[in-house]
């Protein structure tokens, strides 16, 4: 199973390791084969448990999602029928699905734009200006990232509570009763309420990521451009942004993933998709179909669409934002 490559003057650890093994088994051809076989057993023993778990609990279920999208099946009955692409063509006429799709796209755009803008701005302030106590701010802003989604959903339902919530209660105190809303019960507002919770959750995370990127930009560049008379705003747009472009691109993929996944867990815990499907997102609709509604095959077809959608969007975004990496 193992191949002993000839020693090479290569700097990578891997080839150096095979060089090491060559060196220690140089004494004869038979010793080398014995060693090779023992190596093979060792590799297999180390690799097998992880591979078995990975295949059984990740690869098989993933393949099943794709396979089952071509069948109708209630989930429990033995009645399984191959229908080809019927599930997918049914999707096009499903108003609830179209709505869930629109909601996901809306969340993707709104949350990405708002979070990215705010996180970039905060990161720039925190790295460029030596704010007193910035470690404390970083600590506080990162807190939501360690909280569970259930906790965040519960916090926001406390904030949004119609009668005794933080938001409406405060508005009443300020005699701004007219601004009170049924934050999670109004079809027009609920999606924005979810979006705010998503921004709240992820702002600190992206800020820390961007701060890490900005910290690696040499100070001399800023000094030089300041001598040339560039303002802080100008520096941000023509120095900072181009130099952290690569980490911006990476986070765009994260934004796509979180618009699909985080929105699901939040919606599942916070609104259950309501009122009347107005906060339903793709994954929560899939879950409902596959699990609650027992149209398992149909649910898996939705899963395939989500998969393809997030993959395509990530790919397109990555293509569209490709630039020559800048050196500094």
């Amino acid at each position: 199973m193992t191949t002993l490559s000839t020693p090479r003057q290569d700097s990578t650890n891997r080839t150096r390791k095979s060089a090491l093994r060559d060196g220690s088994s140089r004494s004869g051809g038979t010793r080398a084969t014995v060693r090779r076989r023992a190596d093979g057993r060792f590799v297999l023993a180390c690799l097998l448990p992880a591979l078995v778990l990975f295949i059984v609990f990740m690869i098989v279920p993933t393949v099943n999602v794709f396979r089952m999208s071509l069948y109708t099946w209630s989930g429990f009955s033995p009645d399984l029928r191959f229908v080809g692409l019927d599930n997918f063509s049914r999707l096009l006429d499903d108003e609830q699905f179209v709505r869930a799709f629109q909601n996901t796209v809306a969340l993707l755009i709104v949350v990405t734009v708002v979070t990215m803008g705010m996180a970039l701005f905060l990161a720039a302030i925190m790295t460029r200006q030596r704010l007193r106590g910035r470690n404390l701010y970083r600590f506080v802003l990162y807190i939501p990232n360690v909280l569970s989604v259930v906790v965040i959903a519960a916090i926001f339902s406390a904030v949004y509570d119609q009668e005794n919530g933080l938001l409406n209660g405060t508005l009443r105190l300020l005699s701004l009763d007219g601004l009170q809303q049924v934050w999670l019960g109004d079809q027009k507002i609920v999606l924005y309420s979810v979006a705010i919770a998503m921004v709240w959750q992820s702002l600190g995370y992206y800020m820390v990521l961007y701060m890490a990127g900005m910290a690696s930009i040499p100070e001399e560049l800023y000094e030089a451009s300041a001598l040339d008379g560039a303002s802080a705003t100008r520096q941000f747009f023509s120095l900072t942004l181009p130099l952290i472009w690569q980490s911006l691109r990476t986070t765009l993929t994260f934004f796509v993933m979180s618009a699909v996944n985080l929105s699901f867990v939040l919606v599942r815990a916070m609104t259950g998709g309501g009122p009347d499907g107005s906060s339903e997102v793709l994954l929560s609709y899939m879950y409902k179909q596959a699990y609650t509604n027992s149209s398992y095959g149909y649910g898996m077809a939705i899963g395939v669409v989500i998969f393809a959608f997030s993959f395509l969007v990530s790919l397109l975004v990555s293509r569209a934002t490709r630039r020559e990496p800048l050196q500094f």
Binding site: K17, L47, P49, V60, Q129, V150, V151, L209, M211, S258
Partner: protein, 292 residues
């Protein structure tokens, strides 16, 4: 900004200050509010939300721990999380080590598959996993009439471990590769076996990466509710699912005190951990680019 700020009035700086402080408050206030509100008595929830609790209303915590079974769920969560961490480390450390250090046929394929696994989110595959376990239970109905795989916290740990294998191996492999090979050469010359080299030479040196892996997986397992909700439909729940139930019950009965106390019980362990190791957590995340 440091240089140009001298030419500008101080208002700009004060403004940015105010903005950062305001945003920090927007994050901190709701969390702090829940902590305080968990000590309020029933009548105090009506009226202004800004009043401080009149006394320490510990009854909320008693209700949450005992009546709502949060104490029992807490133990389940600890068990599932610890066992999941044991599982994932036991299978991932050896695998990551041989991927980093040995040439073998199919290594590229294995690496590629694991890399692909990074993009498979558990939310997609939790239903197929559930149905697969139901099938296994049905096949074993003679041996375990009550079922074995569903409603088994140990199986939940195994699923947690399995779904975090790609991320764990990815991080560990990268770290193993960064360790110079000379240490192993020396140990091999001294006659140490492969297993010994892995466990007593390489594992201690990979401690920073192992710590990072433990941290992120701890947060993932402790905070998950989708998998736990699906695989433990019976009485034995994890803390997050228990909290979700409290949360749903509160919507009907407006029993705020118990819910807020339950939230505090869920938050405190994570918060303590975060306060202790926040620097490491944040730096680990920034360098690894891990989606939390």
């Amino acid at each position: 900004m440091t240089l140009t700020s001298s030419s500008r009035p101080r208002t700009g700086r004060a403004l940015t200050y105010a903005l950062v402080v305001a945003l920090s408050l927007v994050i901190a206030v709701p969390v702090a509010w829940v902590l305080l509100a968990s000590l309020k008595g029933k009548s105090e929830f009506f009226g202004s939300p800004w009043t401080l609790p009149e006394g320490l209303h510990i009854q909320n915590y008693v209700d949450a721990f005992v009546t709502a079974h949060m104490g029992q769920y807490f133990l389940t969560s600890v068990f599932v999380t610890v066992l999941g961490l044991v599982f994932v480390l036991a299978v991932s450390v050896p695998a990551a080590y041989v991927i980093a250090r040995y040439e073998f046929r199919g290594r590229r394929l294995v690496e590629f598959a694991l890399l692909g696994g990074l993009f498979v989110n558990v939310n997609y595959i939790v239903v197929p996993i559930f149905l697969m376990l139901v099938d296994w239970d049905r096949a074993l109905i003679d041996v375990f009439p009550g079922g074995f795989f569903i409603d088994n916290p140990a199986v939940l740990s195994l699923v947690y471990a399995a779904t975090s294998i790609p991320f764990t191996i990815y991080l560990l492999t990268a770290y193993f590769r960064s360790i110079p090979v000379e240490y192993e050469e020396a140990a091999a010359l001294d006659g140490a076996s492969r297993l010994r080299i892995m466990t007593t030479v390489m594992l201690p040196m990979a401690r920073p990466a192992v710590t990072t892996v433990i941290l992120f997986n701890f947060l993932a397992y402790w905070n998950d509710f989708i998998i736990a909700l699906t695989l433990l439909p019976g009485e034995g729940k994890t803390l997050q699912v228990g909290l979700l139930n409290l949360f749903t019950a509160q919507k009907a009965a407006a029993d705020y005190g118990r819910l807020y106390a339950g939230m505090v019980i869920v938050i405190v362990p994570v918060f303590l951990l975060y306060a202790l190791i926040q620097r490491r957590l944040i730096e680990g995340m920034a360098s690894g680019g891990v989606k939390g």
